[in-house]
Symmetry: C2
Subunit: 207 residues, 2 copies
């Protein structure tokens, strides 16, 4: 594609490095920025650089954070005896948006995937074990770990690995999020595995 301007070409090139954004979309964004006041481009750029430069990962749960420990771990209102185990920081945000969970989190940073060369040692599993071990001596021992991983081959493998690893803690309850028909989903379009699991794991209607 010809841009007849090196400046435009550079900007389009950089923007189209982002996932899901091709040259045409990048050009549309550039043209939008050109029409908008210069301040918009400046505040956009500043927000990106500042975010990338200053972001930290919570020392306790590895969730993205503005400080050393995230505001979920810091909050006195949250129940530190339950840990919801997720793959990525986005998953923490997704669970937070449900407003149905008030415990702590632990971000693994991925799932075990031999295909992509990701082994257990590359995930934050040791730090989870350490976290549980250290909590035993305190007045708030971790008593439940909720596995909230994706229902993929890799997610299931990771879940099994963790279950084995955490078996040593006899007091610890290991749960997983319910699989079933999504709310608003139609039965006839559900796949057999999901439908089968949702029948096996049926709940009392009053719940």
């Amino acid at each position: 594609m010809q841009f007849s301007s090196k400046l435009i070409e550079n900007a389009v090139g950089e923007i189209s490095k982002l996932p899901g954004i091709g040259q045409k979309t990048a050009l549309r964004l550039v043209m939008h920025l050109l029409k908008a006041p210069e301040e918009q481009s400046e505040s956009l750029s500043k927000a990106i650089v500042k975010m990338r430069h200053e972001i930290q990962f919570c020392k306790k749960c590895h969730h993205i954070s503005d400080e050393e420990t995230c505001n979920i771990c810091n909050s006195p209102r949250r129940d530190g005896t339950i840990i919801c185990l997720v793959e990525e920081s986005q998953d923490v945000m997704a669970v937070e948006n449900t407003a149905q969970y008030f415990g702590h989190y632990h971000v693994l940073g991925g799932v075990i995937s031999p295909m992509e060369g990701i082994g257990p040692s590359m995930l934050k599993i040791d730090s989870l074990v350490k976290r549980i071990t250290e909590s035993i001596a305190t007045d708030q021992p971790i008593k439940e770990v909720i596995l909230a991983l994706s229902p993929t081959m890799e997610g299931d493998t990771t879940a099994f690995y963790l279950t084995k690893k955490l078996k040593a803690f006899e007091h610890l309850k290991i749960t997983t999020i319910a699989r079933g028909i999504p709310v608003g989903g139609e039965l006839e379009y559900a796949d057999e595995v999901t439908l089968g699991r949702s029948i096996q794991a049926r709940v009392s209607f009053a719940d």
Copy 2:
């Protein structure tokens, strides 16, 4: 949506101001930037700010340019006696990408639209008239203006306005791009107006 980080929230806020990018997409882009090396965020930001700050508009044709006059107007290889009239700089790029046109351009900066309060005086029409007038005295008088506007109400209105305005130049040929069935388009899905026009404006098969 909860982000549990002011830095993320700001970045997502700024990115989702762009057209066609919602909060979820913005968050995906932010997460991508977090995983990528810090240099990527920096070069992205720099490219945007530099582009917005240094971009100019060609004094002759109003196309975006790195210098006072764009490289199309500057090129000795291009035919300055033909002008292709377009709405926006994107349209110049689109025509350039066809590699079928070797004349100059004139970017109107929009089309006449009473609904949006855009009158002829807000477009670069006077500068087009001036350009044609001034060219008469030179050894390369402008002899053709190709109207390459969108086939919308506004585009057609603008085309009629321009035709009337340019009638004063008796030597000037005013043409418009051909309307017809797109290459690869199927006849049965074409709308009646397009199909009708493509029959009226049929061309010899040898062409």
